[in-house]
């Protein structure tokens, strides 16, 4: 327990500093974790209590992701969504997969690294668009829909990772059935749910927390991974009560996710992982792959190189979802690789996104 308190206090200081400087906090939580954990000072180690908190962090992260997945809105925007998303997927999955395979990872491990290469940090990308005041750009809509596409691919990846020995098709069928079940409850119980969530006492928060936890727990008994179950639950509620659930679940997500990031850092084992050269190569490739996919999307959809640069720099940062994948997959070497990718791309990506106007001006000069 002291470990969690110490880690949280360090993160609190880091949160203050990063908010003041206007840089993303996720990479610094991971660095703090590495410094406190077995690769650093060895002050904090994971135990069953911290494990429970990090599980909650992951569950609330994915529940939130589900709340943003409104199926009807996705279908309305399918053309733009598919065009940009598929380019993004092909380029990054390919580069990440090949790089990992050359570094000696197995096929499955390389695939996980490939997907982690592909999924940008939605939180960092959207914050950067808002903070750098770029929402009006035409590219912003493309970027936002790319994030949704990445979420969908992540769900498929999670299903394959967590399926165990069951048939993936059968698993998907179960998840879809559960989604429909939740959607029916969400639709016909809308009035009751709304009534509970509207109250100003302790009931809405208690209801949100216990509903998400109960569903995560219940999923084990029907053989569906809790990660997929909470996404399905979130997505089913997206059409009816998304905003109210977001408001009440946000405090849980904010706190547990910080614990999730710092304990991910604590679990990273740098000694048995990858060499410095490999870390540098993989970071450069991770930066380059999003830049390339951004350029292609910019040219294909907006017809301009400059749009491509903008899309590229704004999607470079990898974060919460790449770490989620690493955690669920659970291989030490893959975790180290993904930790390196997240730390370098998120810090460099944040600066590139902030100074994208300068970069574009320089490119104009050169051309």
């Amino acid at each position: 327990m002291e470990g969690i308190v110490l880690a949280l206090l360090v993160c609190l200081v880091l949160a203050c500093v990063t908010k003041y400087l206007g840089v993303p906090s996720i990479p610094f939580y991971i660095i703090a974790g590495i410094a406190l954990g077995k690769s650093g000072l060895n002050l904090v180690s994971a135990d069953s209590t911290s494990q429970f908190f990090t599980d909650l962090g992951l569950i609330f992260l994915l529940f939130f992701m589900g709340l943003e997945l409104n199926p009807s809105r996705i279908i309305e925007n399918r053309t733009q969504f598919l065009r940009s998303g598929l380019i993004d997927l092909n380029v990054n999955l390919f580069i990440g997969f090949i790089a990992a395979y050359i570094f000696g990872f197995t096929l499955t491990e390389s695939l996980v690294v490939g997907v982690a290469f592909f999924v940008s940090s939605t939180a960092m990308t959207l914050t950067s668009l808002i903070e750098n005041r770029k929402l009006m750009m035409h590219e912003s809509e493309t970027i936002v829909w790319m994030m949704v596409f990445e979420d969908l691919v992540l769900i498929i990846a999670l299903a394959f990772l967590a399926r165990g020995d069951s048939n993936p098709l059968f698993l998907f069928l179960k998840v879809i059935l559960m989604f429909l079940f939740f959607a029916i409850i969400g639709k016909y119980g809308k009035g009751i749910i709304k009534g509970i969530l509207k109250r100003d006492d302790d009931l809405p928060v208690l209801f949100t927390f216990s509903a998400v936890l109960a569903i995560a727990f219940f999923s084990q008994s029907i053989g569906v991974p809790d990660t997929l179950m909470v996404i399905a639950f979130g997505a089913a509620l997206a059409a009816s009560n998304a905003t109210a659930f977001e408001v009440h679940a946000k405090p849980f997500k904010d706190v547990f996710l910080v614990i999730f990031f710092v304990f991910f850092g604590i679990s990273v084992d740098l000694s048995g992982g990858i060499s410095i050269i490999a870390a540098v190569v993989i970071s450069v490739l991770a930066l380059a792959s999003k830049f390339i996919s951004g350029l292609i999307i910019g040219l294909r959809i907006h017809g301009r190189i400059m749009s491509g640069i903008e899309i590229g720099v704004n999607t470079i940062g990898r974060g919460e979802f790449s770490i989620a994948l690493a955690t669920i997959f659970g291989s030490a070497a893959v975790s180290t690789m993904i930790a390196v990718v997240v730390i370098t791309t998120s810090i460099i990506g944040a600066f590139l996104a902030r100074y994208s106007d300068v970069i574009k001006a320089k490119c104009m000069e050169i051309s």
Partner: protein, 161 residues
């Protein structure tokens, strides 16, 4: 004028207005509760942006609907989306000297102009729904409600503008 609205997952709702003169204004109602307003003049690459809090946005909204904006005399026009022909204005006025010392009943404000005084702001306290026996004091600010025409008639009759 072309207005389109889209909802952006994770961000909020975007409203984009293209004016007849070719300028573009985009408004984003963000999940953070704040509002970003972008303007992009015709044939210009660089956009300008302002981030507003909810109350600042409301204030800007009432300026754009054409209401008077003065520190002491401020007015708001309310229109309900379901009752588009019902338009009510509220305006604040500093009580002029000739009304000081008189009661609300004596002045016959409602009978003469049709407006209603719904609140009085005084240094020490505010009075909501002042009774007929209410006595005006110097420095009182009255919040008056009525149709725009009635408010103008109140101004002519009592404020002397």
């Amino acid at each position: 004028m072309v207005l389109r609205s889209v909802s952006l997952p994770g961000i909020g709702t975007k409203y984009e207005l293209k004016t007849d003169k070719g300028d573009t204004i985009a408004v984003f109602f963000m999940k953070t509760g704040n509002i970003q307003v972008y303007t992009l003049p015709k044939e210009c690459q660089a956009q300008c942006v302002a981030e507003l809090s909810m109350s600042e946005a409301r204030r800007l909204g009432s300026i754009l609907t054409g209401a008077v904006m003065d520190v002491d005399q401020e007015s708001v026009e309310i229109a309900f989306s379901a009752l588009s022909d019902l338009r009510i204005s509220m305006q604040t006025y500093i009580i002029p000297k000739n009304l000081v010392g008189h009661s609300l009943e004596e002045t016959r404000i409602r009978a003469k102009t049709g407006v209603t005084i719904i609140a009085i702001s005084r240094k020490q306290r505010n009075v909501i729904n002042p009774p007929p026996s209410f006595l005006f004091e110097s420095g009182d600010v009255a919040l008056v409600i009525g149709e725009t025409d009635q408010l103008r008639s109140f101004e002519r009759e009592f404020i002397g503008e």
